[in-house]
Symmetry: C2
Subunit: 320 residues, 2 copies
């Protein structure tokens, strides 16, 4: 590939043919937003619909990267291709240049069946909540049908992004309570599966009882999915087979009862609503600037026009 290639249509064709650096460049376009990102979206959309996404979230240090790496190993033994998006809303670094503790995943860096990408946001209008589903659709379109979405923390953005996967895995540790206190309710709400990682440490049993009790309290109706709790020691590969079995059970469950379709439909509606809201926001920023804006605010200050009428005049080309 020409290293300076910037045409998304050319890059898309190259990515379809397996060119990883073309794929990386398309993902950068999605991160950066703008017109190129929209072209990528238009190219991806008709080819998608086959990927299944698994979100992994939990407090920093819970061992998500090690667990993700272990899951990749598990899938690769069965010759299943996989893509990983590592979402870090707090980091200005992207593109895998600085992967931090994700270095363990580099075990798989030379495996063509594995694609790992760290994502942050660089000016994408709507940020990661819009860039992430777009990135997943691109991976889907070029034939990566298992996408793991790992988020680095348990803040609002991370939980939101992770909760938009088809199956969401919440990773905790023995004695988890303190580290996620601030967003326990948010994590309970999005979890389809709980993992107690580092389960060889003291307090694993108490943590299981703690989770079971919270699930009892959340009063899940009969016939609904109750998140199973899986114990793992990811660094030793323990419990990963069972975890993946449980993820498969959840998938079968939500396919069978129509929940997967409802979830995806709901997410697309939310995404569309978000796009509309962001576009109007941008519109407002564009409107509230420039000569015409200055003239009208001067008019308001000098009382030749009232604020509401001034807003009408500003909005005229928009609301006409």
């Amino acid at each position: 590939m020409n290293r300076r290639e910037r045409n998304p249509e050319v890059l898309f064709q190259l990515a379809l043919d397996g060119d990883r650096s073309a794929l990386a460049r398309l993902l950068s376009m999605i991160e950066q937003g703008g017109d190129a990102a929209r072209v990528v979206g238009r190219l991806s959309y008709p080819r998608g619909g086959h990927a299944y996404t698994v979100g992994l979230t939990g407090a920093p240090g819970a061992g998500k990267s090690t667990l993700t790496s272990a899951i990749i190993g598990h899938l690769r033994k069965a010759d299943i291709e996989v893509a990983v998006l590592a979402i870090d809303p707090s980091s200005p670094f992207t593109g895998g240049a600085i992967l931090g503790d994700r270095v363990r995943m580099q075990d798989h860096a030379t495996d063509p069946g594995v694609f790992i990408r760290s994502m942050a946001t660089r000016g994408h209008l709507g940020g990661l909540s819009l860039a992430t589903p777009e990135a997943i659709r691109l991976l889907d379109a070029i034939g990566r049908h298992w996408v793991l979405v790992e988020t680095v923390g348990v803040g609002q953005v991370e939980v939101e992004v992770a909760g938009k996967a088809d199956t969401t895995v919440v990773v905790v540790n023995p004695g988890w309570g303190d580290s996620v206190q601030a967003n326990k309710a948010g994590l309970m709400e999005i979890a389809d599966v709980f993992v107690i990682n580092k389960a060889d440490r003291k307090g694993a049993d108490e943590t299981r009882r703690d989770l079971e009790q919270m699930l009892d309290l959340s009063d899940i109706p009969h016939g609904e999915w109750r998140p199973p709790i899986v114990a793992t020691v990811a660094s030793a590969g323990q419990g990963v087979d069972e975890l993946w079995d449980v993820v498969g059970q959840h998938r079968d469950f939500i396919v069978a009862n129509g929940e997967l379709e409802r979830r995806r439909r709901f997410r697309l509606r939310e995404e569309l609503r978000e796009i509309v809201a962001r576009r109007l926001e941008q519109k407002a920023r564009e409107i509230c600037t420039g000569d015409r804006w200055d003239q009208l605010t001067d008019g308001v200050v000098q009382r030749t026009i009232d604020p509401w009428s001034a807003a009408d005049e500003m909005l005229n080309p928009v609301s006409a």
Copy 2:
């Protein structure tokens, strides 16, 4: 006045002639927002520009109402007319029906030179941050040239509303730290004058030192206004004369150096920006509903259209 009168132009004329219930009705229109509110705004605007607003804010229980009542008494002795807006974003009650601890102000209820009004928000698009300046403009237009704006708490909304006055008075008590911990920085930022009310209680000196120290730390440039600290015992009328003197000094200061004009200009620009943003928000809500919205989201779910193009189609009548 005909009790059923609903024409804002008729009501405005009556209010100009001193009819208090017409004024109360116009303020209700502003609270409720909508077309009538905008008519009131258009009527008020050209007649304004004479009122000076003093904001009073502080933690619940700090004695703001007692202090406001004492200030009213001080102004009435000099035969100055005054209007008070008591802003309570947390209350669904308005119009002075339930005044809570503002009952002390009822001392002035029968005085035609005093107009007291409790304001909350009932569906006003943009809430109190837009209704309050509109209410002030109305009071200004009908000839109330001193407007006291009292807010009930130290939350984000209260601080924002209070901070939009020409002179902002922050009321604290001895040992104030704990009660306003959450928003100390916000209060420091808006204060033009500090009042230590209930200054006869233990800890008044420490509180003054505390405030002076924070002012030292905030590193006010030479020649800028440094908020004075006034001790009052509002329930006994002590310190109120001094407080009003200091408010007058602040007024003279910001008139002389052009700061008053800058503040007002800035506030009007902010208000106009807010109106534009709110109108676009409403537009987004209107857009993301109805048959066309359903059809387009169905199209996105069925992959006959990508989300960005669907958003384009939804926005077409807006952005054309």
